[in-house]
Structures are given as C-alpha cells and as structure tokens.
C-alpha cells in the first residue's frame, strides 16, 4: 500500500510508452500520449495524499477542523489536465495535416515516404 500508487503511475507511464513505440496509427499514438500524461497526474496526487485527510476546500467545513491533503500538487495537476488536452488537440491537428499531405497516418509508411 505504501508504494502501490507510485508503482501504478510508473506502470501507466511505461504502458503508454510501449503503445507509443509500437503504434501503427498516429491517432492511436496521440491517445497513448494521453495515457502517459495521466500517469503524471496519478504520481503527483499520490505524493500529496495524506491518510484520513480531506480536500483543502473550506466552503463546507471549518478551517482546521479536519486534516487536509497537499493543495500545491493538486494545483499543478489541475492546470496540467486542461493544458494537456489542448496539447492533444495540437497533435491531432498535426495528424490531420499529415494525413492531408501524405495520405496516410501510419508512422512506418511515413518513414518510407520521406526518402
């Protein structure tokens, strides 16, 4: 239990990398990159967790009444999620452009085209 979240984050990152390296379709590769990104979210939030604590949001509890988890990593992750989505969009736009220019989205075929 003490290392399980970290190991899950590492596993998700590695499986995403494996998918990226073996992908036959650029759209699938972008999806694998999204999986890699989610590994960072899991890692960051796992670092900030505290046993028996609750969220550092005091709209419905009195400050100091309960222990709270680390807000700094949550703030890092929160912006990362939305910005990650726009980066995914940028990569998908590149994929559309590649498909227009070369007529394929298979990285192996693209490599052959370059020569």
């Amino acid at each position: 239990m003490h290392v399980l979240p970290y190991l899950v984050a590492a596993y998700v990152f590695l499986i995403g990398c494996y998918g990226l390296a073996t992908s036959r379709n650029l759209i699938h590769a972008v999806g694998c990159l999204a999986v890699c990104q989610s590994a960072t979210y899991v890692l960051l939030l796992a670092v900030g967790y505290r046993d028996g604590a609750t969220a550092p949001v005091f709209s419905d509890i009195a400050p100091g009444s309960r222990p709270v988890v680390d807000p700094v990593v949550q703030a890092l992750t929160l912006t990362d999620v939305v910005v990650g989505a726009t980066v995914t969009a940028l990569l998908l736009a590149l994929t559309v452009q590649i498909s227009k220019r070369h007529g394929t989205v298979d990285p192996d075929e693209l490599r052959e085209l370059r020569g």
């Binding site: 239990m1 995403g16 998918g19 699938h28 999204a34 703030a75 990650g84 989505a85 989205v105």
Partner: protein
Amino acid sequence: MADAVIVLTLLAVAGCATAAVVNRDPARQALVLAVLGTVLAVLFTVLQAPDVGLSQLAVGSALTPLLIMLTVRKVRRRSAAPKDGRQ
C-alpha cells in the same frame, strides 16, 4: 476502508490504461479513453482532489473523445475519397 477504495480505483486505472493501449483502432481507443477519463476522475475524488477530478471529468468525458472522433472522421473520409495523384 478508505484504503480499499483507493486500491480498487488504482487497479481500475491501470487496467483502463492497458486497455487504451492494446485497442489499436482509434475509435475503440477513444471509447476506452472516455472511460479512463471518468475512472481517473473517481480516483482523484478518492485521493481527495475534487478540483482535479472536475478538471478531468470536463476534459476526459466529452472534449477529448470529441476531438479524437472528429480527427478519425476526417482521416477516414480522406482515405475513403477517390485517391489523388500523389499516391
């Protein structure tokens, strides 16, 4: 008890990530990614990060699938269209 639900969601995230990688068809992968987004949101809730959970829900449940499916449609329509001279 709180630990049980954390372990459960962590394993679900790992399983979902594996499924997202091994489903090679982009449309099917987008379906798995939509579920992965929701599962991640649940994980963030049990890790006491509702803000991040909201962010993940907003992005993962509708926005990312829409982007991927629109790209899939564009790429498929191109390859279904009559081939031009460059190929």
